[in-house]
């Protein structure tokens, strides 16, 4: 009986994963960004960076695309705080994932090197 319940649970869980296969994972993006805009502080900023990192980690885990703009936004936030190299890496990942972002990202890259 226990075994059956376990299998049932497993099927349910897997079904949940399968159903979300095409669904982009945005995590807490909107709420941490909202908090950061409403009360800009080191804490709210860190929370938003964390939520962007979480989106990348979970999406990778699930095998879904990293949502558009997430790499770029995280990259820019790193650049703002002086982590230029790490930031540039993320900007490049945006272009690698979404070639249609090339033009815009290169504008941002130029501004950084200027």
């Amino acid at each position: 009986m226990k075994k059956l319940a376990f299998v049932g649970l497993l099927v349910l869980l897997m079904g949940g994963c399968a159903a979300n296969k095409d669904m982009l994972y945005w995590g807490d993006y909107s709420s941490t960004l909202y908090d950061y805009k409403k009360e800009p502080s080191d804490e709210t900023r860190a929370a938003h960076v964390e939520s962007l990192e979480d989106i990348i980690a979970k999406s990778t885990q699930r095998g879904t695309r990293i949502p558009p703009g997430v790499y770029a936004e995280l990259g820019y936030m790193h650049i703002e705080t002086g982590s230029t190299e790490l930031g540039a890496k993320y900007l490049q990942l945006e272009v690698d994932t979404y070639p249609e972002s090339q033009k815009f990202i290169s504008t941002i890259q130029q501004r950084i090197t200027e």
Binding site: S30, Y34, P68, Y76, S101
Partner: protein
């Protein structure tokens, strides 16, 4: 005979309108330009704010990327594009309404530009209740042709009045609390999802090109653009 046909026609209209008072049309019928143009990337410019809530456009910006990406589009990183646009001296989206859409392709590489207008962002109180209203207008234009690809208007009123069982005073207090807690942002998110369900899905969506016959467009909500 003619009379009977007429009668049947009138009756079926009556019956049909009884079932569905809303006039739904297919996505292709409503937005043929969207199927005729290749649209992959969308630039969302700062919203035009027609309300008295000064912060509405800024908060709204946190809600729009998500549903557009779920609909299969690439949305340029809105936090970054907004910064760049603001640095060019634009503080309100209204300043961009008359810009040639082609400019947004030259500068940002966007296939389409989305203009959002916030028409309602209000809280109302009445004696034992209250509500939050968000009303949004959307106009998407091709940066290649300047044509309107998609246009829609939607609004949602969320009642925040609740019966707390504490009589009139209790009800007034609970309404005030509920209204404070019911932020505009969750309401705006729902308005976005309602409206974007009428948008033909983009190339990242598995149903791309297959939703032409989907009757998901409320004809009354297709807003006419004043140009």
């Amino acid at each position: 005979m003619k009379f009977i046909i007429k009668l049947v026609a009138v009756m079926s209209v009556a019956v049909l309108s009884g079932c569905a008072t809303v006039d739904y049309v297919t996505k292709e019928e409503a937005f043929p330009n969207m199927y005729a143009t290749k649209t992959t990337s969308i630039l969302v410019v700062p919203a035009v704010n027609n309300t008295t809530a000064a912060e509405a456009a800024d908060y709204y910006a946190t809600t729009i990327s998500e549903p557009l990406t779920h609909a299969g589009y690439y949305v340029l990183p809105i936090e970054l594009t907004t910064k760049l646009i603001q640095e060019q001296g634009v503080v309100d989206g209204a300043q961009l309404l008359n810009t040639d859409p082609g400019v947004f392709n030259q500068l940002y590489g966007a296939d389409a530009v989305l203009f959002v207008t916030i028409n309602e962002w209000d809280t109302s109180y009445y004696v034992i209740g209250g509500n939050v209203t968000v009303g949004i207008g959307y106009v998407m234009k091709s940066t290649a042709t300047g044509n309107v690809l998609w246009q829609y208007n939607d609004r949602l009123v969320i009642d925040t009045g609740g019966d707390s069982g504490g009589g009139l005073i209790g009800a007034i207090i609970s309404t005030a609390i509920n209204t404070a807690l019911t932020d505009y942002v969750p309401v705006a998110k729902r308005v976005n999802y309602m409206a974007i369900s009428s948008l033909p899905v983009g190339s990242y969506h598995k149903l791309h090109g297959q939703d032409r016959q989907t009757k998901a467009v409320n004809k009354d909500k297709v807003q006419t653009v004043q140009e």
